[in-house]
């Protein structure tokens, strides 16, 4: 039994079938990559996990409870965090605040009014946040406004915001898109280090270098259907996968 079980998920937009009977079983502790050509339905699938979209039919079970029909913040509180394709961060706030917010959310739950304490005196939370910023290499910039970061740094920040919550499941939507080779390698190292913490991860990625250096299992999505699934080395040689990529709209 995996930590995330997706059964027969269907989703259409108007006449377009974005997901067709998708089944997925993510093992606890695994790094599960989902690959596929553009428009295969990868992001749609992730959106169904975090409450942004609701599938037409099917079920998404996480750790024994359904993720469907509950609000995004409840899904996060259940232990699912997500990094977006375009970083979603608190642009007007400093980096340290960006990380403190998820830390507090983890500690105090979805809604707590602590209007008397001082953020600048919350040593425990602050230490934790600074620690994670060090992990992602942003410690020096901690007082900067998040908006002033480079794109790569924004991603790293978003990753830090997810990691600090120690989620059970981390969803990564193209974590290295638009990064330089060096940045990409740094990110891979970082993700590998997290791997040691035992966080289950689902990665959507175009960069095969990233996928094969990280993934323990790969599902291939094409036109809304899972066409292949298995260990990285199996997928590499799978003719269906090559067909999907070469014959797909991608090229």
């Amino acid at each position: 039994m995996g930590i995330l079980q997706v059964q027969d998920v269907n989703k259409s937009f108007g006449g377009l079938k974005a997901l067709h009977n998708v089944n997925l079983d993510v093992e606890e502790g695994a790094v599960h990559a989902i690959i596929g050509p553009n428009g295969a339905g990868k992001s749609t699938l992730l959106n169904c996990f975090v409450g942004r979209l609701k599938p037409d039919t099917g079920s998404v079970m996480f750790d024994g409870t359904s993720l469907l029909g509950i609000a995004p913040h409840e899904i996060n509180q259940a232990g699912v965090a997500r990094v977006f394709q375009t970083p979603e961060i608190f642009g007007d706030l400093s980096l340290i605040e960006n990380v403190m917010i998820p830390t507090l959310a983890k500690r105090d739950g979805a809604y707590t009014v602590n209007a008397w304490g001082r953020v600048d005196q919350a040593a425990e939370i602050r230490d934790k946040a600074e620690h994670i910023l060090e992990d992602v290499g942003l410690a020096e910039k901690r007082e900067m406004h998040a908006n002033s970061l480079s794109r790569g740094d924004k991603r790293r920040l978003e990753l830090a915001m997810c990691l600090v919550q120690e989620p059970k499941l981390l969803l990564l939507d193209e974590p290295t898109a638009g990064m330089s080779r060096a940045d990409t390698n740094n990110t891979i190292d970082l993700l590998k280090r997290i791997g040691e913490r035992g966080i289950t991860k689902i990665v959507i990625e175009h960069d095969m270098h990233v996928v094969f250096s990280l993934a323990s299992k790969i599902s291939v999505l094409a036109q809304g259907t899972v066409i292949a699934e298995g260990a990285p080395e199996d997928i590499k040689g799978d003719p269906r996968v090559q067909e999907a990529y070469l014959g797909g709209a991608h090229l």
């Binding site: 975090v50 609000a71 995004p72 913040h73 996060n76 509180q77 965090a81 997500r82 979603e88 961060i89 608190f90 642009g91 007007d92 706030l93 605040e97 403190m100 917010i101 998820p102 507090l104 959310a105 983890k106 105090d108 739950g109 979805a110 809604y111 707590t112 009014v113 602590n114 209007a115 008397w116 304490g117 001082r118 953020v119 600048d120 005196q121 919350a122 939370i125 915001m161 919550q165």
Partner: protein, 381 residues
């Protein structure tokens, strides 16, 4: 730039603020604003604007209906004077509670939408309150005339202890009369308390969450935070500030009129906040002060005052100057206000606080240059 945020610096700022507020009767003297009523208004609208800023400055939700809570606070306070006691304590407490409840209702519905849709929802609720208070609800609000005290009011608590006097009694805080300077210091202390609360909120984890709402609501919910109750809490808190301000209006002057709830009154607090500096601590208080100063002092200049001011000029020139200046004061004070809004927002988008910061940065730079220049010979010594 601002100095670093530490409890110590905040306490220093608090201290300076408190001193500045309490010494208003002294330093406002030269500009002719040191009489009780205007200083009361500075404090009261300062409170209103501080509360508004907790919603608008922190969460970014622009309410166009905050005057409704001000009005509700006033009505509650006057009813408390009429039914219970002329002591202001119950009036203030009830006003804050009722305004809180009222803002909870309106906030609960309005916060289902964001952006300008939210603004229009709050505006609609406030305008409904105003229109109804002016007409159909007259039994509760006394309509156009405004809710007033009457000699025949029951005042049940007071009636237990005191013989009714010849006239209508005045409001008091355990015997301290709330008109004149007594009223000013009462409002001033509440302003200081209100400012301190807003400071604590701004520095607190809760305040950080509110800023997060303004910054990115999506990220907030994917971070496991339920944004709406946070926004609603901010809305209710700022509604309670408005209710407090409204009750103080009644405390210092026991009359509550419907026009307090009109959209222009809601607009006024928006203008105060932006004028002073949205999201800053001191800005809203400054903005409130400036607008009230204009309303009360600039509007009072008339030809004879101007003539005496410019009497040092030669006759012909004096007439010209008086007629030109006359356009901007007295009946033309709106014109000055309009121009002020435009100039501030064009050249100082961050409001007066930004202006002050710029001056400080400029001064610091100059000083640094100077000290750099004067440093050399020192080393030589």
């Amino acid at each position: 730039m601002m100095s670093k945020i530490t409890p110590r610096n905040d306490n220093v700022m608090m201290g300076l603020f408190a001193v500045a507020v309490l010494t208003m009767p002294i330093w406002l003297m030269p500009i002719g604003a040191s009489y009780p009523d205007l200083m009361q208004k500075f404090a009261i609208f300062g409170i209103f604007a501080i509360g508004f800023n907790i919603l608008f400055g922190l969460t970014g939700y622009l309410s166009f209906g905050h005057a409704a809570f001000l009005g509700v606070g006033s009505y509650t306070a006057v009813w408390s004077f009429k039914l219970l006691s002329m002591n202001v304590l119950p009036a203030v407490v009830f006003a804050v509670l009722v305004a809180g409840a009222f803002s909870f209702l309106i906030g609960f519905i309005s916060l289902r939408r964001s952006g300008i849709y939210f603004s229009i929802l709050t505006l609609a609720f406030a305008q409904m309150s105003y229109n109804l208070a002016y007409s159909v609800l007259t039994p509760i609000t006394n309509g156009e005339t405004g809710l007033q005290l009457a000699k025949s009011d029951p005042r049940v608590v007071d009636a237990l202890f005191v013989e009714a006097g010849a006239g209508i009694p005045s409001t008091n805080f355990f015997g301290i009369a709330m008109s004149g300077y007594g009223g000013f210091y009462f409002c001033a202390i509440l302003l200081i308390v209100g400012f301190y609360l807003s400071l604590r909120i701004t520095r607190s984890p809760f305040g950080m969450m509110l800023k997060a709402i303004k910054s990115n609501q999506n990220r907030m919910s994917y971070t496991g935070l339920n944004t709406r109750p946070y926004a609603l809490t901010a809305f209710v808190i700022s509604g309670m500030y408005a209710g407090l301000a409204g009750s103080l209006l009644a405390v210092t002057d026991p009359l509550a009129g419907a026009e307090r709830m009109q959209w222009t009154a809601s607009g006024e607090v928006v203008l105060m906040t932006i004028l002073g500096g949205v999201g800053t601590l001191i800005g809203p208080v400054l903005g409130a002060g400036i607008i009230k100063y204009f309303e009360n002092i600039f509007s009072a200049f008339n030809e004879s005052i101007l003539t005496s001011i410019f009497s040092f000029l030669p006759d012909g020139l004096q007439d010209v100057v008086v007629s030109v200046v006359g356009l901007f004061v007295g009946e033309g004070w709106h014109l000055t206000l309009g121009l002020l809004f435009m100039i501030i927002v064009i050249y100082l988008p961050g409001g007066l606080v930004e202006g002050a910061q710029r001056i400080r940065t400029y001064a610091t730079k100059k000083r640094e240059k100077k000290s750099a220049a004067s440093h050399q010979p020192q080393i030589a010594e």
